[in-house]
Subunit: 193 residues, 2 copies
């Protein structure tokens, strides 16, 4: 068997874990299934991670830095608020389409109820994400691109709910998420402009 550095193996393991979650759900995210998916022995997983909790933490980190990090970067840019919002929205959808297990994972029992530390990390990330979007919406309202009556925070939560629900529904119904997302985005524009 070829040997690789822990750095490389860690990435392989995380990718394998994301694959398992996407295809079989959080419940099926066992050391055994990760090992199978990554093409290595279970024991070798423990060579590179302290245990399952460490893997979950790494997953949460990956999700956090991917989705929320990208959004923060977009929000900090110099385009119009509506452009930023659209980019954030479709980036998020694209990310979920690529890693279908993520929305499930973020709100799974294992995270939210099983592991307090992880729950805190995850909810803080989500709160930061909500605030980022809230800020963009507030700018849009201020500049007159969005209706004056809407509340930035509640609208941000509505937008995130839309994404989350679409992801869960499309996974369940096996329908075209990108297509659904486009229709929802157009309707969202009609609601906020």
């Amino acid at each position: 068997m070829e040997k690789k550095s822990t750095r490389v193996r860690k990435e392989e393991i995380i990718q394998a874990a994301l694959d398992v979650v996407g295809k079989k759900g959080v419940r099926a995210l066992t050391i055994c299934s990760i090992a199978d998916s990554a093409g290595m022995s279970e024991a070798n997983i423990y060579r590179h991670f302290d245990g399952k909790d460490a893997i979950l933490l790494a997953l949460a980190d990956f999700v956090g830095s991917s989705v929320m990090g990208a959004a923060a970067t977009t929000a900090a840019g110099s385009r119009t608020p509506l452009d930023k919002l659209e980019t954030i929205f479709f980036s998020h959808i694209k990310f979920i389409a690529e890693y279908p297990g993520v929305p499930r994972f973020a709100f799974s029992d294992d995270i939210q109820l099983g592991h307090p530390v992880l729950a805190k990390v995850m909810t803080e990330r989500i709160s930061a994400y909500v605030e980022t979007i809230t800020g963009v919406l507030a700018a849009g309202i201020k500049e007159g691109d969005l209706r004056q009556q809407i509340s930035p925070r509640e609208t941000a939560l509505t937008l995130l709910g839309m994404i989350q629900f679409t992801a869960l529904r499309c996974t369940a119904l096996n329908c075209d998420m990108t297509g659904e997302a486009k229709k929802l985005w157009l309707n969202f524009l009609n609601m906020v402009r």
Copy 2:
């Protein structure tokens, strides 16, 4: 030990299961934890249900007939579309506040990925629910209570996403769901009127 009829025990078991899901999540929904919560032996669970799948099916049925049934009744009434919508929204929120595990359960792996039959039952119920709300929204648009530009179906999905996300977020953050729901509803009105 006092003996009760299967009819009564079934209800006790379902309530115990809902309790477990609400407090500890779907992952913790084991025969053992249900038995503990219901105050009976594990073996006795099997006296009243064929197995765990039967319990999950009964849970799905309970959720379906509670939330979606109530919505259908409201939608069939004779009030204004906006009144109906408000009733459906807050009924749903109230139900989730009472049974916090339900949103988790409805989209859990066990349902969606673990058991095809159950997944079909659940997604059909959700689709019917979406259509009910879509109908009410369409009526509201037709009557001029809601903006002409919005699409009934996409707006219905947005509303449901709002509910789902609020439920998950409030469970995670342990925040006041009813309060959040009120703010979201007011903002929703501002978006659709």
